[in-house]
């Protein structure tokens, strides 16, 4: 393991970035230092999912990913979902359904939901519950979160699932 900082390039929300970081630095910290503070640290050990982002289309807990592992990767964070102020379908549904209470889990949960809809545009309630089981929310009891995901899927059944940057292109509401 290298102990000196090095340059690492990665694409974040469609933008090319080069950061100077220790290879073992957590992707979460690097993203937050870039000003992308949407991903949160709830536990720092992969349990709560509040730091979740998409890495090459996979859902990862960024508190467990060394930034070296993100070299040349495509990262999508909550900040990358809305396109030019036009909210992503999931974001709209979370607003409508009461999916965000205190909001601290929301960025991670929306990313997890995004990952689900990418691979399964028409999930069942069971699929939704299961795919969000890695994200803890202490406020909502999950029901309104799951309803929001279902509503987003229902409203936009036919949209393409994956855009170039790994984010599902479901935001043309």
């Amino acid at each position: 393991m290298s102990h000196s900082p090095c340059e690492i390039s990665l694409t974040v929300n469609g933008e090319q970035k080069t950061v100077c970081a220790y290879p073992m630095e957590r992707l979460l910290d690097v993203l937050r230092q870039l000003g992308l503070t949407g991903a949160k640290e709830g536990c720092g050990e992969g349990e709560c999912g509040s730091c979740a982002v998409l890495l090459n289309g996979d859902l990862v807990t960024s508190c467990l990913v060394p930034v070296a592992q993100a070299r040349n990767a495509n990262i999508v964070t909550i900040e990358g979902l809305a396109k030019n102020e036009e909210l992503h379908a999931l974001q709209k549904a979370f607003l409508d359904c009461g999916g965000a209470q205190c909001g601290i889990c929301t960025p991670g949960i929306i990313m997890a939901a995004c990952h689900l809809l990418n691979s399964k545009p028409q999930p069942t309630m069971e699929d939704i519950k299961e795919s969000l089981a890695g994200n803890l929310c202490r406020c909502t009891g999950y029901a309104q979160i799951c309803e929001a995901v279902a509503q987003a899927a229902l409203r936009f059944p036919l949209l393409a699932t994956t855009a170039g940057n790994g984010a599902p292109d479901r935001n043309r509401a």
């Binding site: 964070t77 909210l87 974001q91 209470q101 969000l132 089981a133 202490r138 309104q144």
Partner: protein, 755 residues
Amino acid sequence: MKTESIIGAAVPRKEGLDKVTGRAQYVDDIVLPGMIYGATVRSTIARGKIRKITFGDGVPWHEFVIVTAKDIPGTNCVSLITDDQPCLADDTVNHPEEPILLLAHPNRHSLPKVVDAVTIEYDPLPAVFTLEDSERAAEIIWGQDNIFKRFLVEKGDVDSIWEKADYIVEGEYRTGAQEQLYIENNGMIASFDKERGITVWGSLQCPYYVHKALMKLCNLPKERVRVVQTETGGAFGGKEDYPSIIAGHAALLAIKSGKPVKIVYDRMEDMVATTKRHPSRTRHRTAVSRDGKILGGDIEFVVDGGAYATLSSVVLSRGTIHAAGPYYWPNIRIRASAVATNAPPHGAFRGFGAPQSLFAMERHMDRIAAIVGISPVEIRRRNFLKTGKTTATEQTIHEPIDLDKLLDRALELSDYRAKKQRFRKENEGSTYKKGIGIASFLHGAGFTGSGERYLASVVGVEGCADGRVRVLVSSTEFGQGTKTVLCQIAAETLGLAYDDVEIAQADTGEVPNSGPTVASRTVMIVGKLVRSAAQGIQQTLISSGYLSQGYSREEFRKACANYVAEHGTFKSWSQYEPPAGIFWDDEKYRGEAYAAYTWAVYIAEVTVDLTSYSVTIDDFVALQEIGKVLHPVLARGQIIGGVAQGIGFALFEKVAWRNGRMQNGQMTNYIMPTSADLPPIRVYFEELGNEHGAFGAKGIGELPIDGPAPAVVNAIEDALGVRFDSIPLLPEDIFEALAVRPQSEGQARTRQEVS
């Protein structure tokens, strides 16, 4: 005036957009120029004298700001109710993880190692870890007798009832500590300036609690302390008193270093060092007639407060009053005490003592039913409080509540009777045992007794230059929807659109003290004050000729803008005044404990798998009377979230203690429910209004955590025929009860005397 109602409409959450886009700024998202990071060195033992502090080799200590109790400019205490808790332990420690010394450095990541490089040697003193040891008082660790507070409630003549009883039913019930487990850990930023004094920004519920604590700690006048709430990622009571400590620590480091200082706990530190729900023990002895009427009873309620007094007296107070449940007791005596142990202080957690004593009451009702030989439904029905009857504190219920109807509706919604029969049949010979359980309960809205009178909350509404209005309150948003509903109330009062109303950030530099955001008091007490402050704005505009009755929204905005242009700042204030006829005797603990109560019947349906001993909740009906639903989506969200926490309290969340320290301070080993663990939670409301609340609302934040634990455990007893009187109830406990205890014991009428 516009006609459609904003009250009762699902308007968008004020801060919702920021939350779903990741733009909301929580404390750890904020970076100030030149900011450094703080960390806390804590005690490793439960009780003892600090003998020596050693700063280990190999650390460039000159780079670190170091603060000890000696650096405190004011009084070394966390000012709250009883000033017994030091902000930094000086010569004695009274619990594990007690803060002793603070460090700060520009490199956040250097801190954990450096904290470990400080060694503290102690002369240990004997410590107390259980309720029973504390009561025995062989070792005195607090005051004269280890008791923070006692209450005695007495109604009628309890001593005379025992001989009239057909049955005397006894039971002992216990509840464990519960971690609030908000997903955002505690955190605070402080900055100091000689002129302006200290400013803190952070995750908190009660800006004026922190304000008061900082004045005393830093020895500053009130105008030189400013407390600003940042977006708060969950609280549930866990950010009621503890933020005063972290704010104090950050302030001390900021004063000493001259730089802004941020302290954010990691999950382990937050779990092991900060407050939890008070563990409790409740003993019931109840005299019952042959037909299942309660003649009277004796209730003893004890909570473990941990090492310092903090909020224990008020938690105890609420738990004491709720201990009698929603039932009529002709005679009752409730003896309650909060005792000290050498654990970190227990604190506020949604429900505030009520979930503990109501768990006992509702389990005990099922026990009484079994002994009398009537159903859990019937025992409740025969003892419900009714309008015109008095509570344990002799408060006459004036609300038009009909608990029978509430119960009937819940039974119907859950298909209780049919299921009960069906399960009995199907359970025979099956390794899956199904059961169904009821809890009926109440929750008092607002502060207990004279609490609101002492608080004397103030609320403001400001007319702005653009004609819109702003609500000025210290009530905080941490997910419940405070901002949204208070704006709805102001908009509805003024006949404006929801978007015409904004709410100020909870910043003591700008908003008045409208009291803490606790005790389900926000919509009822603060909401009503918002309404009258808004009426003040309206009256001023009308009486000074800027506006006439029957105005349109546009006319209001124009009038308001004109008023501000001509007169400058335009604010209207409203202060709480106790409603006429509210009487409370603090000495005797008698009178109107709460201005209003919410009422509920919850029904849980469970399956116990006899191969894994795990419990699945298959259905959950939550029916409640809450006065008025101000916002259907938020109200439902509050109920479901509270039920989920209540299910965690019953079946999942166990704090493993060793020598006063939590051993499982991680999300991997302290387990809260996930989306896969919860049943569909079906929420229903009844709305009977409330003259004390804005638009008839009562508080709902806490109610939903009172009922799930007893409903679920009652259902488990129904499924297995075995009694469980202690929570959390984990699969290993069920295994032990079934495999180790003789099957019959659950049914045995061991401590019951039948006359």
